[in-house]
Amino acid sequence: MTTSEEPKTDAPARPEAPEDPARISPGGYSVRRTLPLRVEAIRQFRRRRTLIAFGILLVLPWVLVGAFEIGGSPSGNGVPGLVDVATAGALNFTLFALFVSTGFLLVVAVALFCGDTVASEAGWSSLRYLLAAPVPRARLLRQKLIVALSYSVAAVLTLPLMSLVAGTAAFGWADVELPTGGTVPTSTALGRMAIVIGYSLVAQFVVAALAFLLSVVTDSPLGAVGGAVGLVIVSNILDAVTALGSWRDFLPTHWMYSWMDALQPQIQWTGMAKGASISIAYAAVLFALAFRRFHTRDIVS
């Protein structure tokens, strides 16, 4: 609105006359075209926290390689564990990297992408303009959820893929040594790895759902992400209370490490089946709650 741009500013004064007043919306508008996935992906991708999260996941394998290079090969303490065989080869190293990050790092990454997505829009006040664009509420949530889950999947995949690269560079390519003894040839091991990663994704589903629900409920991105991580921590603490007995089976994080059952001479499906069942059941309810809440909520941010 500077005077120098005077000639242009009168442009709105000469628009074509409004079209048929009885039509519902402008001809180019269609609910199905609102908030395309590509647009939402771009909106999220250029964010600093997205880039930092991926940066950490990409660097962590190299940090671990450095740690093993400095500290030498790990020595066992009698109890079979993945750390004892971490440097046996790229695949073993990848499994170790997954093992150390499943409990917290991946949880934070998934909570970040799913917990931040709606709450941050509310925080920036951009949510109300999107809704008035109008992007119907259910569609906004759906598109945001798809993009957030895609980023989460990418994050969960980034770590093992980069670990494979780092592990190959540092320790070479070798058969997988199982912590309980025995080896699995590379061909089988890649299949097992796919199971491991697939299950990790399913297990993180409940974290994603929890974070997403909190994201819809609160206007503070930090609250949503922190709340989801906090509840995971509480669940882990309860899981440590052995007095709870089999009630712990129904804690959302109880089966988080069940992918290790794929690393035994014979794959044990029971734990993963239970974990997947719990995760999917919780996630379905939490996602539904998120949609319901967002549908009825007054947007006052």
Binding site: M1, T3, E5, T9, A11, P12, A13, P15, P18, P21, A22, R23, I24, S25, P26, G28, Y29, T34, L35, R43, R47, G76, G78, P80, W124, S125, S126, Y129, L131, A132, A133, P134, V135, P136, T180, G181, G182, S246, W247, D249, F250, W259, D261, Q264, P265, Q268, W269, T270, G271, K274, S277, I278, I280, A284, A288, F291, R292, H295, D298, I299
Partner: protein
């Protein structure tokens, strides 16, 4: 035998049944199903009768003994088959109370009794002798036949099954041989031949040439005598044991006595269906004892099923739930003819660790036939030269294979070489022969055999004991005993065929089998004289397998399948009504019509009350009112962000609901800008427009950018913008697509005077083109100069509406009129 039980208890963990039961009830609760209600009455009560029963026994039937018994009445049946449960050595009837109750609940009449010489029963221990214990039990059967609850096959002949562990299992076998009234037996971890158990010889030379299993024999005897001399043993038995233990070798008399207490002596008379449950962690009564019983009974034509489970006298997973379930199913099939019991061979295998419990997962492998201990043999070469091994003077230090309780410690062994690592063999005392690394994994099921050439160096070692064991050697060289059991034999000079301990063990690909021949073993009597032996493998290792064993996948609890559909059902229920179709409406030309709009917030504050007004095309409407008048709430409802409590808003005749398509004809700027701070102004507008899904051509982006007038700042991140720059960008965003109805909330906040003036002109021109503009403001002068019409709000209500000129009246300033109206509004 009872000792084994005690040790198991010490190393024990929660039974699997208990865990599953708990998990099951958790599901029942979580799912809120009727299961909980059905069992709300708690476990049904079992009525018991404690009774001392007088019996007469002895070789001449002249010894009176009182037996302490408990009778468990069947639940839910007036007459039911009977089951007699025997107890382990050193225990009494209370040890089997839990199992008895469970069987009674399943509808069996159960009799438990304390054998003579134990607990509250009188008499002395005769080691399941046909002259004593067997006679006692036959009189208990007489007693059972008189109970009204017991189903009879004939006069004085109850429908009867017998079960029990160890000492109680042997009496089941022996009674079945001596009494035709027994209809089915399920002996567990018990013996076939006591002499072969206590003086084993793996070269088949008989107990006369056996090696004294001194540690177990001692544990066994002491638990019966309670450590006090002969305790309650029959004096003749006590004397026999003392003589044998002193010599470290059997006497003919002892072998004869023990043989009479062995099912082996009467196996040709056992003709009833039999379930033999034997432990894989059992160095006292190894699997070959069950095998001998199975072969003998099967020879008589009776159906025999064999179960190898993880437990045993050495410890290991007791698998209580699984074993009890098998015994119950067996009795159901044999005593009730309910269901079939077609599985002839069941082996439980450690299938790995459960990562959530850190416990070993046990799987069942089943087959329709029992192959014995030498089924489907494979030959593995045992390269290696002759080796010389030494028996140290005094026999110490001795190698450790099995010790009571070590089975539990070594349970990780079953998962692979890395799990174990307890020192077992002493250097210089052991000859080892390794196979080549396996190309494929090999599952040994049975007893491997090997032919050895053994020669003693000098006379001292002639006939000296040697111990054969089987190791699993991983590729990195770690060796662990496949099973912690040693097979003793004697160096008689020349070639011998040694049968290694029976077991079920998987040797992985790349692993080697190692045959170890040792001169000492802590569990056995070995000579104190130093000696040396030369050992050579003459044949390869013959490894039996049973490919017909099929491992059923570990059971997955029902809740795993129920929970996801239940979750989805709950989700669907939650989403019911969320998607609602919109009624098709005919549009009108009225840009905005608000009728009876009311909104109260959660705290009870009435933000908008019964607001109605109408805006016509081409108007620039000023929405006036002091702070808190409800202007912003109204505009938020206009955008579909807030649900009104009552009343409605129509834009061009279409009712506004969240996300209503008609909102695409509305451009809005309400309560400040909302941008993604990390993106530039241009990207923000661009992505916003793409988010509306409308074609880029409809955006009129250049006109909007001209209104924003941000110049080069347009390509900087929005977070660097000043308040005024954001404000202008937000107004530009509202004008994207040149909406028919433009709503601006305090548009001049943060603008400098020239910009304010310019904004005013933009709005006037915008409306002049036939569009409609609503400006909310508290700057009265601003409204006076820009707007054609005004709506004045106070306390959520409309207090005045109409053309600005009408509201102002002649010769007054809007400010005066406004204050006057407000005053009225608040007092009204």
């Amino acid at each position: 035998m009872r000792v084994g039980g005690a040790i198991r208890a010490r190393w024990g963990r929660t039974g699997r049944t208990a865990r599953w039961a708990a998990a099951g009830s958790a599901v029942a609760l979580a799912a809120g199903t009727a299961v909980w209600g059905a069992s709300a009455g708690g476990p049904s009560r079992v009525h018991t009768v404690d009774q001392r029963i007088q019996v007469v026994d002895g070789p001449h039937d002249d010894q009176r003994v009182t037996l302490d018994t408990t009778f468990y009445k069947p639940v839910g049946h007036a007459k039911a088959p009977a089951v007699m449960l025997g107890h382990g050595f050193g225990g009494d009837k209370h040890g089997v109370a839990a199992e008895a109750r469970a069987l009674a609940r399943d509808g069996y009449a159960v009799l438990t009794w304390t054998a003579r010489g134990f607990g509250a029963s009188t008499g002395q221990i005769a080691l399941d002798s046909p002259d004593y214990e067997v006679k006692d039990v036959r009189q208990l059967i007489d007693w059972l036949a008189k109970r009204p609850e017991v189903q009879l096959d004939g006069p004085g002949d109850p429908r009867l099954g017998m079960a029990g562990e160890s000492y109680g299992g042997a009496i089941a076998l022996l009674t079945a041989a001596y009494d035709r009234r027994v209809d089915a037996i399920a002996p567990q971890i018990t013996w076939n031949s006591l002499p072969d158990v206590l003086f084993p010889n793996a070269a088949g030379a008989g107990p006369e040439n056996g090696v004294f299993k001194k540690l177990w024999a001692g544990v066994f005897f002491t638990s019966g005598s309670r450590g006090a001399g002969c305790g309650r043993f029959l004096p003749s038995l006590c004397a026999m044991y003392q003589k044998v233990a002193e010599r470290g070798a059997p006497t003919a008399d002892a072998i004869a006595t023990l043989r009479r207490s062995s099912p082996a002596s009467v196996a040709d008379r056992i003709t009833v269906p039999t379930l033999l449950v034997q432990g894989q962690s059992d160095s006292l009564f190894p699997l070959d004892q069950a095998d001998a019983n199975a072969r003998a009974i099967a020879r008589n034509g009776a159906p025999v099923s064999v179960v190898w489970y993880q437990g045993g006298h050495d410890g290991g997973d007791p698998e209580t739930g699984r074993v009890r379930g098998l015994v119950r199913d067996f009795f159901d099939a044999r005593l009730r003819h309910a269901g079939t019991f077609g599985t002839r061979f069941t082996v439980t295998r450690a299938g790995g660790l459960d990562s959530s419990t850190q416990k070993v997962v046990v799987q069942e492998a089943k087959a329709r036939t029992y192959p014995g201990l030498s089924g489907d043999p494979r030959q593995l070469a045992l390269p290696g030269a002759e080796q010389t091994i030494h028996n140290p003077a005094g026999g110490a230090p001795a190698a450790v294979s099995a010790l009571p309780g070590l089975g539990a410690l070594g349970s990780l062994d079953s998962l692979g070489a890395a799990g174990g690592g307890l020192p077992t063999d002493m250097p210089g005392q052991t000859a080892t022969f390794d196979t080549r690394p396996l190309d494929h994994s090999l599952h040994l099921t049975g007893a491997a055999t090997v032919r050895l050439h053994v020669a003693a160096d000098g006379d001292a070692g002639d006939g000296g004991p040697l111990f054969a064991k089987l190791y699993d050697v991983s590729p990195d060289g770690t060796a662990a005993l496949a099973r912690r059991i040693a097979a003793p034999f004697r160096a008689t000079g020349g070639e011998v065929t040694v049968t290694l301990p029976a077991m079920d063990h998987r040797f992985d690909r790349g692993h080697r089998l190692r045959l170890a021949i040792a001169t000492t073993d802590m569990g056995f009597a070995t000579p104190p004289q130093p000696a040396a032996y030369r050992v050579r493998a003459v044949s390869g290792l013959t490894v039996p397998t049973d490919p017909s064993l099929v491992t059923a996948p570990a059971p997955i609890p029902t809740w795993v399948w129920i929970l996801p559909p239940a979750g989805l059902a709950v989700a669907a229920a939650l989403l019911l009504g969320v998607r609602r179709g919109r009624p098709r409406e005919r549009g009108t030309g009225v840009p905005l019509e608000i009728t009876g709009l009311t909104k109260a917030y959660g705290n009870g504050h009435l933000a908008v009350a019964d607001l109605s007004f109408r805006v016509e095309k081409g108007q620039v409407l000023g929405l006036l009112g002091p702070n808190g008048a409800g202007k912003t709430t109204t505009l938020r409802m206009l955008m579909g962000l807030i649900h009104p409590d009552a009343g409605e808003i129509r834009i061009f005749g279409h009712r506004v609901t969240p996300g209503a398509p008609v909102l695409a004809r509305l451009g809005s700027f309400v309560e400040g800008p909302g941008f993604l701070p990390h993106l530039s102004g241009r990207d923000n507008l661009d992505l916003y427009w793409r988010a509306t899904g409308r074609p880029a051509a409809e955006a009129h982006m250049d006109e909007a950018l001209a209104i924003a007038g941000l110049g080069t700042a347009l390509d900087r991140a929005v977070r660097t913008y000043s308040q005024g720059m954001r404000q202008r960008l937000a107004i530009a965003q509202a004008m994207l697509g040149l909406p028919d109805l433009l709503v601006l909330d305090e548009p001049t906040n943060g603008l400098d005077p020239p910009q304010i003036r310019e904004m005013r002109e933009v709005l006037v021109r915008y409306a002049a083109a036939g569009r409609t503009v609503i400006v909310s403001s508290h700057l009265l002068a601003e409204v006076e100069q820009t707007c054609t019409h005004a709506v004045v709000m106070a306390g959520g209500r409309r207090v005045a509406a109409g053309p600005v000129a009408d509201i102002v009246g002649s010769g007054r300033r809007l400010e005066d009129a406004f204050l006057e109206i407000i005053g009225e509004g608040t007092t009204a």
